[in-house]
Assembly symmetry: C2
DNA sequence: AAAATAAGTCAATATGGCTGACGTAAACGT
DNA sequence: ACGTTTACGTCAGCCATATTGACTTATTTT
């Protein structure tokens, strides 16, 4: 499950990067074609989030719950509006997820001190523990990914996994 | 729409990184806490894919179509099985998306030369043009993101957008 | 000839987004 | 003090994308 692979497809007659355009290297990315960065981001996100998915599924949660727990853990006392702005989803979408987390004791809500319309969000102990486990999982994957990106990683990648 | 922001939330009483664990720095990530990398990946993916979504929506397509066009463009002649392995979805999920792309003339299928059960995938001219446009969009965003990550970017980020 | 493989398909289901409409409580403005 | 705005919640319905399971068709392998 660790295959952040890009280049080794069994049947690839021609391949040569096509007219894809490179990034202006003045910013210091090592002249990597943009297309490769794009793919890298796709694979990173796919694998990265996959690990956590398994743990979450056992609790009956999904990625949406993950994101909420994560950000509330990182920014205790944030308002619902803040969370909406960060996630860039609608309040209706958030609503379901947030309610489940509150009902199951992962997130606590408190009315704001100065403005009592606000519902400030905090992780309950249960939620903090979950956040910790998720971060651990993802940190491990990051460590593995960075290992593979060390010196000589490129050659390694060229000749690994996939079909 | 360029806000890859993390740290500036209006109501954040306490914040101090909590017990999150840093990556072993032996791999040369600048000692950035893992949690920040995790968030960075989330924001990157969210914004990154958002640009393309608009263009795709106008064609009646979604992210799934994007991924297919992208990978087929990158690896012409790949088999359906290869695509499934790369995307890590089921053939039923791929089926619908692929059919739409073929029906609308973005993707061509040819029976394999040696094994005629295989349906080798190629982008049609229409598909190549779409892929080109999408890469251009994403490359632009990458360029912008890298700009913001240049020297001094950290301080900039601390004092920008969000609510 | 039989078995395995590549692909396609039907059907049912779940998740996580969305829009639109509406309700409630609290704060703000004039 | 009253009307407006804000923060949040919720009902209802829609859509895109993913899932599992069962089955078909063609073709290759054994």
């Amino acid at each position: 499950m660790a295959d952040v692979n890009v280049s080794t497809l069994s049947h690839s007659p021609k391949d040569p990067a096509k007219g894809a355009g490179k990034l202006d290297d003045s910013q210091g990315n090592g002249g990597i074609p943009a297309v490769e960065l794009i793919e890298l981001l796709f694979f990173a996100y796919r694998d990265f989030v996959g690990d956590a998915d398994e743990l979450l599924a056992r609790l009956g949660f999904g990625r949406a719950h993950h994101r909420v727990v994560h950000f509330v853990n990182r920014h205790p006392g944030m308002r619902v509006a803040d969370l909406l702005a960060v996630l860039k989803i609608t309040k209706q979408s958030l609503g379901r997820v947030l309610r489940e987390l509150v009902d199951n004791g992962y997130i606590d809500q408190k009315a704001g001190a100065t403005d009592r319309r606000e519902r400030l969000l905090y992780v309950a102990p249960k939620g903090e523990e979950l956040a910790r486990q998720l971060v651990t999982l993802q940190t491990r994957r990051f460590a593995r990914a960075l290992n593979e990106c060390g010196p000589g990683a490129r050659e390694q990648r060229e000749s690994s996994s996939l079909p």
